[in-house]
């Protein structure tokens, strides 16, 4: 019987279209309501100057456990999620062993419960052992807690398998998450195919490799009626194709990462493998289109694409280094920098892309402050300035290109199921 009273904050709940200064009452792990009062309060939180919003949801996180505990564990990854303001994350199945069966999915959920940080919703592998030959036991995975199916960073390259997966998952009303990229066009490549790849003599990943796969996937989604989610879109043409598909009523959703909104391929001039991400950093014209897609609702969610790697894996020649950067602890400030500060989005719109947006894709019954909901609440200090220092990360991964960046906006307090799980030390 715990009661928490959060008072004086700016409550933003996109699901209920609320944006006003008010109090929020939580009892026994659930939201009681806004403007509700209570005789006995166990904890009173002063939220003056803070945003009080539904706990943020990240639908694309690699937690690396089991199999790659040198990079990250479920405990360290979920601690990083809390520090970033996230109360729920969807974990990628590209672990070792792969999450392609019920026991593997249940292990993820169990480890997350043991860690006691944020909630983890496993994604299951589309195919057994990511081998792209046979479908995984998708029904069993659903029973084990899997909420969507994906090849993670391996695109579902075979159109017939993608078709069957979209058909089969209709039975469970669960989406297929695809990394939209034609593998044969990006073989051995490390960066966007353009002026800088030519200047630097590095093999490039053409934007067309994304366009082609998205065209195929949208056609298959239309044909099958399955739910398609396109991960980390990075090109102007992707936004345009998704916009048209949505207008035609096709069940397609998409997300974008903050680093694709703030960095371009020019960064690779440093040859720093912390700028090597998949999909690659592209050009300003693509960034402008992605922001337009966020503004008009073509892109549904923002995710971290958190990819932690042990230091020794990244401190090598850029072609040998793996793709990816850590993101959980830098999503919020980078969104402030790229979307709020230039005036592209306001706070309710940004919170929606980090709560109701991912909720609609994952369908996990989170992301709102309506009465009776699980009390997953994030308090954000929108104005606090801080300097990104990887040494302070909760994540084991230090692989970020943003070290030393001066940023604003940070999670201040994070509540999961009515329990305060994180308080910023700053």
């Amino acid at each position: 019987m715990t009661t928490i009273h959060i008072h004086g904050g700016r409550i933003i709940d996109p699901a209920q279209q609320i944006d006003r200064t008010a109090d929020l009452l939580i009892r026994d792990g659930n939201i009681v309501g806004i403007d509700e009062s209570s005789e006995s309060v166990d904890e009173s939180i002063d939220a003056a100057g803070l945003i009080v919003c539904p706990g943020l949801i990240d639908l694309h996180v690699a937690l690396r456990e089991p199999g790659f505990e040198e990079d990250e564990t479920i405990a360290s990854g979920t601690a990083a999620a809390l520090a970033g303001g996230f109360t729920s994350v969807a974990s990628m199945p590209d672990t070792s062993p792969v999450v392609d069966n019920r026991a593997a999915a249940e292990f993820i959920v169990l480890q997350a419960e043991r860690a006691g940080n944020c909630r983890v919703f496993p994604l299951g592998a589309v195919t057994k052992d990511h081998a792209a030959e046979e479908l995984s036991e998708i029904g069993q995975l659903v029973d084990g807690g899997a909420v969507a199916f994906t090849g993670a960073k391996k695109p579902v390259a075979n159109a017939e398998i993608m078709r069957r997966a979209l058909e089969y998952t209709r039975m469970f009303d669960r989406p297929i998450f695809n990394h939209p990229q034609v593998p044969e066009l990006v073989s051995k490549a490390v960066m966007h195919d353009g002026y800088y790849s030519t200047l630097l003599g590095m093999p490039g990943m053409p934007a067309a490799s994304e366009s082609i796969m998205i065209g195929r996937d949208i056609a298959l989604a239309e044909m099958t009626g399955g739910k398609l989610h396109l991960m980390c879109v990075s090109t102007a043409d992707a936004v345009e194709q998704i916009r048209r598909a949505k207008a035609r009523g096709i069940a397609v959703t998409a997300d974008v990462t903050p680093h694709h909104l703030v960095l371009t391929d020019e960064s690779l001039q440093s040859f720093d493998s912390n700028f090597k991400v998949d999909p690659p950093l592209r050009t300003q014209e693509h960034i402008d289109a992605l922001i337009e897609g966020l503004k008009d609702g073509t892109i549904d969610a923002i995710c971290s694409d958190h990819q932690p790697f042990a230091e020794e894996k990244k401190a090598v020649e850029v072609d040998l280094a793996p793709f990816g950067i850590v993101g959980l602890e830098t999503v919020l400030p980078l969104c402030v920098k790229s979307l709020i500060e230039p005036g592209h989005l306001d706070w309710p719109e940004l919170i929606a892309l980090l709560s109701t947006g991912p909720e609609r894709i994952l369908n996990i019954n989170k992301g709102s402050l309506h009465p009776g909901a699980d009390a997953d609440v994030t308090l954000i200090d929108p104005d606090v300035s801080w300097i990104i220092d990887p040494a302070d990360f909760r994540s084991q991964g230090r692989n970020t290109p943003f070290a030393g960046w001066n940023v604003s906006g940070r999670a201040q307090t994070v509540i999961v199921g009515g329990q305060v799980r994180y308080r910023s030390e700053a």
Binding site: Y195, T198, L200, G201, P203, F271, E317
Partner: protein, 319 residues
């Protein structure tokens, strides 16, 4: 042989860098400084001063992670001519397959007392990684398909030696531009010195956005023959190809090979360069390679002078 006493720095040079990573960032004055210093070494060599003591007491390490004969030999001899001690480390396998990382290998070489590291590596930016992590001078001897600055410098030196200046000359780079670090370094160096550069080759081997580097593009060798003052025939890099860039060697030679008939349609004074090792009968026929317009062996001689100049100038920054 007695070592002569140095130093022999040419006056008026503008060189302040600790590393030579590429030509992309160098100014015309910096490039000219290297050329002038190389010219001085060539003059000394002609006067019989083949052994100089300028780098006595220093250690030049050749770190070659990719196969090379002439560049490694040339750097090695350049170091010896300047009285440096040399270490040769060659490994064609990737560093990971050997179990030791590239950086750890380099740190070991540094710990042996190397003061200058000459590095060839299949990855663009590998020399930058060393420059950032080690305390030594780093000389790029070819990083993947990015740059090969000393090769371009010796090409430019050879042209300047014959023509006096690069300003206003038209230089054609013919062949596999996409995979060629020699092409990139030549483009940067030549355009900086005021030459007009045409790149010519199969459309599959000319990368996108190359015009933005300040060059013209042609897919027809015969069209540009009459315009070129110098023709640099790049080697077809079979080992770098993912395959399928052109249908056959025969067709390549037909479209882009430099043979007698093409030479006769070129300018009377045309210079024929090739970075080597040449594929005789593919990019160039023996008639052209061994003919009067060819400066291919001058390039090799000048390469030694250029590498002496680079080692010497970088070492000056350690004083």
């Amino acid at each position: 042989m007695t070592a002569s006493t140095g130093p022999q720095t040419v006056t008026g040079l503008r060189w302040t860098r600790r590393h030579l990573l590429g030509l992309a960032d160098l100014s015309a004055e910096e490039i000219t400084s290297i050329l002038d210093q190389a010219e001085e070494f060539k003059r000394l060599a002609a006067a019989g001063e083949t052994k100089l003591n300028a780098l006595a007491g220093t250690v030049v390490a050749n770190l070659f992670f990719e196969n090379s004969t002439r560049t490694r030999t040339s750097f090695s001899l350049a170091a010896k001519r300047l009285s440096a001690d040399t270490i040769d480390f060659s490994s064609s396998g990737s560093s990971l397959s050997k179990g030791e990382t590239f950086l750890d290998t380099a740190r070991n070489i540094e710990a042996m007392g190397a003061t200058q590291v000459v590095v060839r590596h299949r990855t663009p930016g590998a020399p930058h990684l060393l420059a950032k992590s080690l305390g030594v001078n780093v000389l790029n001897a070819g990083d993947g398909t990015r740059e090969h600055p000393t090769q371009a410098l010796l090409d430019i030196f050879t042209i300047r030696e014959r023509r006096g200046t690069l300003e206003g000359l038209t230089v054609a780079l013919v062949g596999d531009i996409l995979h060629s670090r020699v092409a990139r370094s030549n483009i940067f160096g030549l355009t900086t010195l005021g030459a007009r550069v045409i790149v010519c080759g199969p459309a599959t081997l000319i990368p996108p956005h190359i015009e933005e580097l300040g060059v013209e593009v042609s897919y027809n060798f015969d069209d540009i023959l009459a315009e070129a003052d110098c023709i640099n025939l790049l080697r077809v890099q079979f080992e770098r190809q993912r395959g399928g860039f052109f249908p056959s060697v025969r067709e390549y030679a037909h479209l882009f090979g430099m043979d007698g008939p093409r030479l006769r349609r070129a300018k009377d004074e045309v210079l024929i360069l090739a970075p080597g090792p040449i594929n005789r009968g593919l990019e160039i026929t023996p008639e052209v390679a061994d003919g009067g317009h060819s400066v291919i062996l001058d390039q090799v001689t000048n390469g030694l002078m250029i590498r002496m100049a680079c080692l010497y100038l970088l070492n000056q920054q350690n004083q």
